[in-house]
């Protein structure tokens, strides 16, 4: 766990910095509302109609936050996927597996302890992020700031990260020696991101295909709560995949070093 402490700090800072940076633009941004509206006037009518309809949400703090949150999700997903792929692969690649396994613990226990450590890191990152972002949002808010909805949106970061973490774990269970975790986690995250984007434009059932679109953020804004069905779905997903990971690890040969 110690090895990851430094990189976790970097991630937490990066995530917070992203959010804070863009939140700071928000203030200036709203001042330019009129200018922005004028720009959009030049676009074709169909667009304008759509935009006009949604501009209102956009210019609320929560709406703006939605906008930048997509980026935050992207960055956070990379962190989580990287953790998932790396935390166990690191042993196999670094050939320290034998060392660990010769200690008086079962494989299951070893994986559990590593997973717990990773989850703690993710949780810590989220706590830091939410705290910082809450402060920043409060600072720039013009009174339309609803803490509860804000926090709920931010929590989806953790939920999405969990999904990516577990997917990363699963991949590392399938492929024994991954020498560069980011070469797997980055393309993985981007693949899901692109699926989400393309399908938003051209498809309908995006939500089940990619963790990014799993939670409907506008629903949260409108209703101030998560959709229970999806929370349950995620829980089921996490349990099944984690179970598979344990199963795989207990079955497979560890690439042995004499």
């Amino acid at each position: 766990m110690k090895q990851y402490l430094r990189s976790t700090i970097v991630w937490a800072i990066a995530l917070s910095a992203v959010a804070v940076f863009y939140l700071s633009i928000y203030n200036a941004f709203t001042k330019d509302v009129e200018t922005v509206r004028k720009i959009f006037e030049n676009y074709p009518p169909a667009f304008r109609a759509a935009l006009g309809f949604h501009l209102d949400i956009f210019f609320t703090l929560n709406g703006f936050y939605l906008f930048i949150f997509g980026i935050v999700l992207l960055v956070g997903a990379v962190q989580a996927a990287n953790l998932g792929v790396g935390i166990i692969s690191k042993e196999a690649a670094g050939k320290t597996f034998d060392f660990l396994l010769s200690k008086p613990i079962t494989r299951t226990k070893m994986i559990t302890s590593k997973v717990t450590a990773a989850l703690a890191l993710l949780a810590a990152t989220n706590i830091v992020y939410i705290t910082i972002v809450l402060f920043a949002a409060n600072a720039v808010s013009k009174g339309d700031f609803e803490v509860k909805k804000f926090v709920l949106i931010s929590l989806t970061l953790f939920l999405v990260q969990l999904m990516f973490f577990v997917i990363g774990l699963f991949i590392s269970a399938l492929v024994p020696k991954i020498k560069s975790p980011i070469s797997v986690s980055l393309p993985l995250v981007f693949a899901f991101y692109i699926i989400g984007a393309l399908d938003t434009i051209f498809g309908k059932n995006v939500r089940y295909l990619t963790p990014f679109k799993f939670y409907d953020l506008t629903y949260i804004i409108k209703n101030g709560a998560f959709e229970t069905k999806f929370l349950l779905l995620e829980a089921a997903f996490l349990i099944i995949v984690t179970g598979a990971v344990y199963y795989l690890y207990n079955k497979k040969d560890i690439p042995a070093v004499d």
């Binding site: 633009i25 330019d32 169909a46 667009f47 759509a50 980055l186 692109i194 984007a197 399908d199």
Partner: protein, 266 residues
């Protein structure tokens, strides 16, 4: 050259995987587009249903007429570039840092070759990979788009866009390599390159929406060759071409200099 051949051999499955991935992306995009075209729905109508904030995140070219093949492809291009640059950055960083990462440096660097020669062979192999990926994307795009296209030909646009993408690939390839050359412990090179890529990507999304920070567009290569500008102007901006070449040359030179002068991480 033996090192060159070795690098080509070892990367062949990865290249195949990425190429197939690219092909599938283009295919999926084109199929989705044609589904809408044939069903008679006006895509622009569909897009207008999507919350604006999501649109921007997703990178829809505000103003692009997505109902034509050309307009649609310019949106697709945004993502193809993402895939290609990730590939290039990871490849560049990986191919230079792998000897130290995998601890094979005490084998390779004791051979009677200069470090410069090793770099050259590796960069050349990486370049070949990047060219192949670009070519695969180009051919897939031209073929698939023309197959499903019922309107005006987009081929000229596609070729132009692929040219732009090539320069982006070169920039990120060189960036990855330079980072691996500079870092004392190159294991983190791929992550750092990925981080910088992420950062410039996010920056490019924002430069679009917020005019005040428009000057930052020089900081993000993604804005050098963006679909909207290229398709409307019908050519690649020579200033950006020049800038790209300078960046690549500087980064490659940095790779050579730093990698030759520093201690290897053993």
């Amino acid at each position: 050259m033996n090192i060159f051949i070795r690098e080509i051999k070892v990367n062949k499955w990865s290249l195949l995987f990425w190429s197939i991935g690219m092909f599938v992306f283009v295919l999926a995009g084109v199929m989705k587009f044609s589904a809408y075209e044939s069903s008679g729905q006006n895509i622009n109508q569909v897009i207008s249903q999507i919350p604006k904030s999501v649109q921007i995140i997703v990178g829809i070219n505000v103003g692009a007429d997505v109902s034509t093949a050309r307009g649609f492809y310019s949106v697709l291009f945004f993502y193809l570039v993402l895939v290609a640059t990730v590939h290039a950055a990871l490849l560049g960083a990986g191919i230079i840092s792998k000897e130290e990462r995998d601890k094979t440096s005490e084998f390779l660097f004791v051979k009677p070759v200069t470090r410069a020669k090793i770099i050259s062979a590796k960069l050349l192999a990486a370049l070949c990979n990047v060219i192949v990926l670009n070519f695969v994307t180009l051919v897939s795009s031209v073929w698939l788009v023309s197959k499903y296209n019922k309107g005006a030909s987009a081929t000229h646009d596609i070729i132009l866009l692929m040219g732009g993408m090539f320069f982006l690939q070169l920039i990120f390839l060189a960036l990855g390599a330079a980072i691996a050359g500079i870092l004392k412990k190159p294991k983190g090179a791929a992550s750092l390159a990925a981080g910088i890529l992420l950062f410039t990507f996010i920056l490019s999304a924002f430069v679009d929406i917020y005019p005040k920070i428009e000057n930052l567009k020089y900081m993000t290569p993604f804005k050098y060759f963006d679909a909207k500008t290229i398709t409307t102007s019908g050519k690649l901006d020579p200033f950006y071409l020049f800038l790209s070449v300078i960046i690549v040359v500087v980064l490659v030179a940095t790779t050579y200099l730093s990698y030759s002068k520093r201690d290897l991480d053993i």
